[in-house]
Symmetry: C2
Subunit: 438 residues, 2 copies
Amino acid sequence: MTTSPGVPEPSAELLQLAVKVRRAAMALGQSNDDQRRKALLAMATSLLSCSEQIVTANRQDLERARAEGLAPALLARLKLDEAKLVSAIEGVRQLAQLPDPLGQLQLHRELDQGLVLERITVPLGVLGVIFEARPDAVIQIASLAIRSGNGAILKGGSEANCTNEAIMEALKKGLSATEVDFNALALLTTRKESIALLRLDGLVDLIIPRGSNELVRFIQDNTRIPVLGHADGICHLYVDASVDLEQALQIAIDSKTQYPAACNAIETLLIHQSIAPSFLAIAIPAFRQAGVRLVGDSASRALGVVEVASEEDWATEYLDLILSVRVVPDMDAALDHIRSYGSRHTEAIVSNDKKTAEYFLRSVDSAGVYHNCSTRFADGFRYGFGAEVGISTQTLPPRGPVGLEGLVTYRYRLRGEGHIVADYANGKSIFSHRDLPL
Amino acid sequence: MTTSPGVPEPSAELLQLAVKVRRAAMALGQSNDDQRRKALLAMATSLLSCSEQIVTANRQDLERARAEGLAPALLARLKLDEAKLVSAIEGVRQLAQLPDPLGQLQLHRELDQGLVLERITVPLGVLGVIFEARPDAVIQIASLAIRSGNGAILKGGSEANCTNEAIMEALKKGLSATEVDFNALALLTTRKESIALLRLDGLVDLIIPRGSNELVRFIQDNTRIPVLGHADGICHLYVDASVDLEQALQIAIDSKTQYPAACNAIETLLIHQSIAPSFLAIAIPAFRQAGVRLVGDSASRALGVVEVASEEDWATEYLDLILSVRVVPDMDAALDHIRSYGSRHTEAIVSNDKKTAEYFLRSVDSAGVYHNCSTRFADGFRYGFGAEVGISTQTLPPRGPVGLEGLVTYRYRLRGEGHIVADYANGKSIFSHRDLPL
């Protein structure tokens, strides 16, 4: 961070709030599994009993957003109806049942007699989460934070302000009946505050930005706090020469249309030239029926795709019912395309040839690489993590869907009986390095 | 990174070199355990047969550095005599014997019948390592990189240029007889190149800076590549009210003097007021005899410490035979001091009271927290990691001494039989989330 004029100093109010969250988080970090489990169940119960207020608040947000002409894909994210809320609450309950991510002994080693090393999981501290106008994210993030012993300062897209405030009120109400201090959670509602959050080094331990590439870049460039690199999902499906056409089509349709606003939906379809004529013959009408607009390279246009894909299309995350299509001479060309335009999120191959599939799985360096299934499975809930705080496209862990495990760190503890290093340097003692039971 | 005038664009030569390293690293990433193991043994053998040239080159570096008036602590780091070299070579051999960090199955889960998720460790890619004038680091870093399947571009302190070049030549000579491409390793020798390294996003996956806080900050502020946050080691030893005086003294002496130039040496001694008179009565002469200059607060000066510790002293990493001393009213004051001035590297308590010790272990949020042993144990080799690429003082993993395990990441692989998400959304299928054997 070189002091950028765009990043204001935190206000006294923001600092006070951050200190309050941090204090509550320090206490939370010392809480036990049962206390945090109960806190989550109380949050879930409170959300349920406040569901009418939450859904009503969401309707207000939706009305305003529609009046302001928000794009359909964004409206879909913003919408929180009864069904989506119930499913989010169910997610909180499931999270309560997952094993405690804290206090896990990851390493237990005798270095020498009486000198024992442990590595044990501990919370990160306070998370700063800046996310899109998608109110179920507040529920997911808050419950992941509490379950993992972290405080959280949340800033959602302003289009969802009413919904987010209603949700946060319900969550705090739920926590107030538990041993977890409700001050461990805080919601920011103005953009100025969310930017000043970037200056809270020492009070916030991890920034989790969810949203456009530009947002993530801006944040990475303007903070010294570590950033969880969730960026665009430019996901690819490669249809190999040897496929079950019907299976390939189903996977393609699901990967694109099951929830096009999600980052794990595909944006580009790569098709081996030998299968392209027969695959596109069934895919073009199927996509048309599903309301998907296809844009293609010249080879795919020769096979019936009408619109032209520009260079920009290959690098675009549509988050909408648009799909770019390219016919490739072989898998290496597909791998090259993915390397050039992909965002290392999730890539899939459909193929009946196991060897080809394994080569693809080995060669693609994305957080998720799939064979014969939809890219839409790239999700913490579907992976069995209970929920996710985001999907990281960076190389370093945590990578892919980040659940509880990605929100903890560890600490080494060494207990001795007067051991000093000089004894090992002069040969008086030697290390045993004997692993002990975990 | 906002384009800083201090960071030049990489030259064509540097780009070519980085591409070469990257290509070699991609091939290395596909190599098996045995190939990488043999590569390390060949590196060790070659280092041994070139040891005369290496030690001679080091003598040249030392002479020049002495003439230029390099501080004694830095000269100690720069020196690479026969004994230090042999021990470094032994480290390479030990690393070869450690379990393969790649291809480890970390998660293996059936999401549904025929839909199986794996999480498997893979290399990061290419490491960019900028480090102090300490030539044994070249050996450690290069062997950690190759063992973990990563390429590495290294830039050591220019005082060690002759030694580093001799070492790199030996390493490449060793690799040239193996299946690992010696281009996976490269040494930069000018400062301009090392700065331009920060611009190699997409070619370098992790920057590991070792050196002053200023260097680490500068790098963090001027690159989009993730940075492993190795910063100052301002380590503390707290001598509790109830201690074995002789044990406490031995630990204090070892923590300060066993190798004062190391980041895990203590810089500050905190002493409970009730034990301070008797402890300082034996500690002051012992430190004097060990050549350690003590600077203290008023309470410790009243007990015999002569020189004054300024506010700045508490925040200084001396890396030398100087120790700041403070008498504290109780452990909470010690914890406060550590929170205010520590760098979250390694802190230790000497205490006969187990409860007090456990409270300290729980409350101090440093990468390492120790009881009744020297802080000098904070080291990858002593932890049994074979070696370390550095000690991370950041909160997120990898934290503490970073060995092989900290140099790999993972990838999710999902294999299905035509599975689509729509079936789970509409209730036709449900997830089993059944863990399979690892």
